[in-house]
């Protein structure tokens, strides 16, 4: 909320005045109300390994994160730029591989990548889009700089929280919205549907779009159902789909119905037991062959995972320069790639000041936060680094910005990050907002829900309307 010099940020000025008038008691009451609302609506995520008690609420904080119009326009431009470059990169590595020939990205980093799908080589996708939905994680480190932490281009989740958090805030604090200039986010589903329809196979006029889920025991099932409902499309599982005469169909009460676009929330490895993991019961046998013949579009495309690898992340600014001929709007976090001997040496010598992450890790697992780790933990990680340097990257711990948050002791600053969602189809769009995650433990930098993080509504303030007086 405060800028580096201690002043209240302009974006927070109105809200801060309002907050000053609120009693802590009222805020707590609203917090309890929000909890009840989420519980009743069943806005939950599933915790694996528990039975009927396994549905949890992600803690929701009633104090929003506010982003000014100016800050947002930079973020928006930067996020779109990144995703455009990533899509160009994905098309390139599955076609001419010019970026490798130009010596910018090492060939083995692509070819030996587990997420690289040789089956996708030479395949032309509608509008050359691979990552139709991306979640670009950013943090603010000072008044002007946003760093990108990660580009999630496989099957990013959390967008339902962006929408439900707003819905909840509007129910709890209608007075705040009545006169405010918070940009609405509720067109997300409409934009998503438009993007998905835009990548239908050639010659299909009125495409049938479906959302494919691993099923109701998946941790993000709520979100899958929510999005299907918002878009008014069928929510299917692998068992509802089948391949016949080279096309994709779903089983309906009126017989088979052709499917043109699949927004899948099932990972590559499980999507087609014939092409990938043969033990998968979640997928559709033969799906890849239909993709290859161009009769169904799968979003995000198989093999996009190459681009959201933590090792590939280092090259994104180069990709922007190479494919778009532009300078990156958003900065990468300075990253040490342990596969490089110099970087490895630096990381080993300074491990106590760094965050070390597994290249393929996610959800806050498989990482070491140096300043918080014991000597034994550091030593253990050093051993792992020496054994498998290729598997790790390291980054300095950042002075992340904080946001006022309602916690046990009252209102206190907590670290936040932000995930805006970028949609690619007929054009690349970002809905003004995103998912703000907040580390609820004091001092903690880990915001993942699996590690006790919470979420907040994210307000992007609209540009002031200039009313021109007629003469």
């Amino acid at each position: 909320m405060h800028a580096a010099n201690g002043d209240i940020r302009a974006a927070y000025r109105d809200y801060s005045a309002w907050l000053t008038d609120q009693s802590l008691e009222r805020l707590r009451q609203k917090h309890a109300q929000a909890d009840l609302l989420f519980r009743r609506l069943g806005i939950t995520f599933t915790v694996y390994g528990e039975d009927e008690g396994g549905e949890r609420l992600i803690p929701f904080d009633v104090i929003p994160r506010i982003i000014s119009h100016e800050e947002w326009s930079v973020l928006e431009r930067g996020a779109i730029q990144r995703v455009d470059a990533l899509n160009a990169f994905l098309h390139d590595i599955y076609h001419e591989q010019e970026i490798i020939r130009a010596g910018i990205v090492p060939a083995e980093l692509v070819m030996t990548n587990e997420a690289f799908q040789p089956q996708m080589l030479g395949l032309d996708l509608p509008r050359r889009v691979y990552a139709h939905v991306s979640g670009v994680d950013v943090v603010r480190v000072d008044d002007k700089t946003f760093y990108v932490l990660e580009d999630n281009v496989r099957t990013p989740s959390g967008v339902s929280y962006m929408l439900e958090n707003r819905e909840t805030m509007m129910r709890l604090f209608p007075d705040l919205f009545a006169q405010s200039v918070v940009a609405p986010v509720d067109r997300y589903a409409e934009y998503l549907l438009r993007s998905l329809q835009a990548v239908a196979p050639a010659g299909v006029d009125d495409p049938t779009v479906v959302l494919m889920t691993p099923g109701q025991y998946n941790s993000a099932y709520f979100e899958h159902a929510f999005l299907a409902m918002e878009m008014g499309i069928e929510l299917v599982e692998g068992r509802d789909l089948f391949v016949d005469s080279g096309s994709m169909f779903m089983r309906t009460t009126e017989g088979p119905k052709r499917v043109d676009v699949i927004y899948r929330r099932v990972d590559d490895g499980f999507i087609d037991p014939l092409a990938f993991n043969p033990d998968s019961a979640l997928g559709v046998p033969g799906m890849l062959s239909v993709v290859r013949s161009g009769r169904v579009t799968v979003c995000n495309a198989m093999g996009t995972g190459v681009a959201d690898d933590k090792a590939m992340y280092c090259f994104v600014p180069d990709m922007i320069r190479f494919y778009l001929g532009e300078e990156p709007v958003l900065q990468n976090v300075p990253t040490y790639s342990c596969r490089k001997p110099d970087d490895l040496k630096y990381v080993l010598d300074n491990i106590a000041d760094l965050v070390v992450k597994e290249v393929h890790g996610s959800g806050g697992y498989g990482m070491l936060v140096g300043p918080k780790a014991t000597k034994a933990e550091c030593d253990d990680f050093k051993r792992r680094l020496k054994a498998e340097p290729d598997n790790y990257i390291a980054q300095p711990t950042l002075a992340l910005s904080t946001c006022p948050t309602l916690v046990e002791e009252g209102i206190a600053p907590r670290h936040v990050d932000l995930r805006p969602y970028v949609l690619s189809g007929d054009k690349t769009r970002v809905v003004p907002g995103g998912l703000t995650r907040v580390a609820l433990k004091p001092g903690s930098l880990v915001v993942n829900s699996s590690q006790g993080g919470g979420t907040k509504d994210t307000w992007v303030l609209e540009a002031p309307v200039v009313i021109e007086e007629e003469e």
């Binding site: 159902a225 069928e234 299917v236 509802d240 089983r251 309906t252 009460t253 017989g255």
Partner: protein, 314 residues
């Protein structure tokens, strides 16, 4: 609509309806268990609830005797008993959760809050509240769910599959209720004529009340309660919403709208014809238990055929 969605809707309706019907059955039996013991009504009262060998064994694996407290615990709150009310609400809720994108928010919220309440209920809570009140609450929650469905669902395929589930389950339950009664209430030991009449009054009167048909019985027959007439009312009278006839008529109507040339529609017509041509005197002569059992099997076959015709079974 996806076949799997239709299947979920069908079962959601069935489980919710089942929870209500179990509550109705238990209310009736609980009421009976409070009658003076010398009427002979208590013998085999709770045991009659368990009609198959497998059901009896599952119960006896946990408890020694068929007594009020353990039976109610088992039938209402036991999470390992797949037909307990708690399990039915859970299954209904899981089916709603899987199809919530085609249902209204109100439907989800109704069933979800019912589940959240019953999930934390203990037997002690139930005793505190009173068995009768608790079972009444289940009924009310089921009424509410049905009302919400009626009041909010678009009149499309989803609505029809939901209705189909409701009426198949309800028809089966009414039969089950009658069969359980016929089975349970054979008095043991010598009792007087007067006692028999009193017993009939309590037993069949309770049954009528449990399906809200007591008043209708009085209006239609204007006489004392006679088991034969109760069976006639609850099987063959189309004016009683929970009678088998009324339910089968609804099923026919739904299927005619959805798929008039299907095998399952044909089967439902046959079942309806059987009821329309049945006479209660003949049913009684050939044996009520057999009639009920045959009809229940017919409904079960219909349910399977529906699932086949709409590809709900692969």
């Amino acid at each position: 609509m996806l076949s799997s969605t239709a299947e979920n809707l069908f079962w959601m309706a069935r489980y919710m309806e089942r929870s209500e019907n179990t509550a109705r059955l238990l209310t009736g039996l609980y009421h009976m268990s409070l009658l003076p013991a010398r009427r002979g009504a208590q013998a085999g009262l709770w045991e009659g609830l368990f009609q198959s060998e497998a059901e009896r064994n599952a119960y006896l694996a946990k408890y020694d005797a068929f007594k009020t407290d353990p039976v109610l615990t088992y039938m209402v709150l036991d999470r390992e008993n797949p037909s307990s009310i708690r399990s039915c609400v859970w299954s209904a809720r899981e089916n709603v959760r899987a199809t919530r994108h085609v249902l209204t928010t109100d439907m989800w919220e109704t069933i979800n809050s019912t589940w959240l309440d019953i999930a934390k209920t203990t037997y002690a809570d139930m005793q505190d509240m009173g068995h009768h009140e608790f079972l009444e609450w289940i009924k009310v929650r089921s009424h509410l769910f049905r009302g919400v469905a009626h009041g909010t669902m678009r009149r499309g395929e989803a609505f029809e599959f939901w209705r189909m589930g409701v009426f198949i389950e309800r028809a089966e339950n009414t039969i089950r209720l009658l069969a359980a009664r016929a089975h349970t209430f054979k008095p043991t030991g010598p009792i007087s004529r007067e006692d028999t009449a009193t017993l009939d009054y309590y037993q069949w009167g309770t049954l009528l009340r449990s399906v809200n048909a007591y008043k209708a019985y009085r209006e239609i027959y204007k006489s004392q309660i006679d088991p034969r007439r109760v069976v006639e009312l609850l099987t063959l009278n189309e004016e009683i919403p929970r009678s088998v006839m009324a339910c089968v008529e609804e099923i026919c109507q739904v299927l005619e709208g959805l798929r008039p040339r299907s095998r399952c529609f044909e089967q439902s017509r046959d079942l309806l014809n059987r009821l329309q041509s049945a006479r209660i005197e003949r049913v009684y002569r050939t044996g009520m238990a057999r009639f009920l059992e045959d009809y229940r099997a017919g409904l079960h076959d219909l349910s399977l055929q529906i699932q086949k015709d709409f590809l709900m079974i692969q």
